[in-house]
Symmetry: none
Subunit: 82 residues, 4 copies
DNA sequence: TCGCCTGATAGTTGCC
DNA sequence: GGCAACTATCAGGCGA
């Protein structure tokens, strides 16, 4: 590899690493914002654990949710739960 | 602190650290065993994700499970899910 | 709980859930951007596994620096400096 | 699925769940033992936070050693040594 | 392409 | 009751 291409590669690598690190910083900031919203919710008397569960469920579409529930029921029945 | 008590302390600390590390090793081995059981379950055609959910649910007693479910229903209704 | 406060609570819950979901969407988009940068890097011939490792090391260095600083602060407080 | 295979499956599922639960119990007990050792250490005047850090460092060193070895293996393979 | 395996993220628990 | 450590779950990348 020539010195020239090496210099190019080095500079390209630096640029890529910079971009990733900048994006990771943004991601961390948004994560902190989410934490803040949950704190606020708690201050208003909501149960954040349940909120998290609800939000998780909403990410799944209806058929997916139904399918998972059916399988869960099947296994729980098999084990005599309920 | 005298040299003597220092020596005692050093030896006691080493013993404590050893005990912790030994226990941690055991814990890791059991975790591996659990992984193995899940692999086996998978090989027998079971859905391990559902198995994990079931096992998690079984750790809770009935009243706890009922309480959580009630709260979840409340929140889901409030958000118009279902 | 009265119907009125119930209505308030429902509306407040919806608003909070919306905010969390919006932020989570943003977070996911940024995560995808990061994935894109790595794909680009790969296309330019870089080894992304090594890149990730480098970035992780840089982050680790940061947190270690922070940790050391915290320890320093602890000692300074203990000695009544500041 | 026939009743018979269903019965087999149910029994197999029960056996697997039992095994996992037994192992998890063992794991939890060991975790409690570790907690106990730390309490004991504290009773002897040791700073457990620092102890944890020391043990973590030792573990990290181990995994780093393993990682370095893996990297060495990789290079040796690449160069056709072995 | 599949399954494995590591790394990222979410959740739980215990301490202060 | 908040924070920090630890655990468990999930997803993406890698090699066979």
């Amino acid at each position: 590899m020539t010195e020239r291409s090496n210099a190019f590669a080095t500079s390209a690598l630096k640029a890529l690493v910079d971009r990733v690190e900048r994006l990771e910083t943004q991601k961390r900031e948004i994560a902190e914002d989410i934490t803040e919203v949950y704190k606020e919710a708690k201050g208003q008397g909501f149960d954040t654990k349940t909120m998290r569960r609800v939000i998780r469920e909403r990410r799944k579409d209806d058929s997916e949710r139904a399918e998972e529930q059916a399988l869960l029921d099947l296994y729980m029945d098999a084990l005599g739960m309920r």
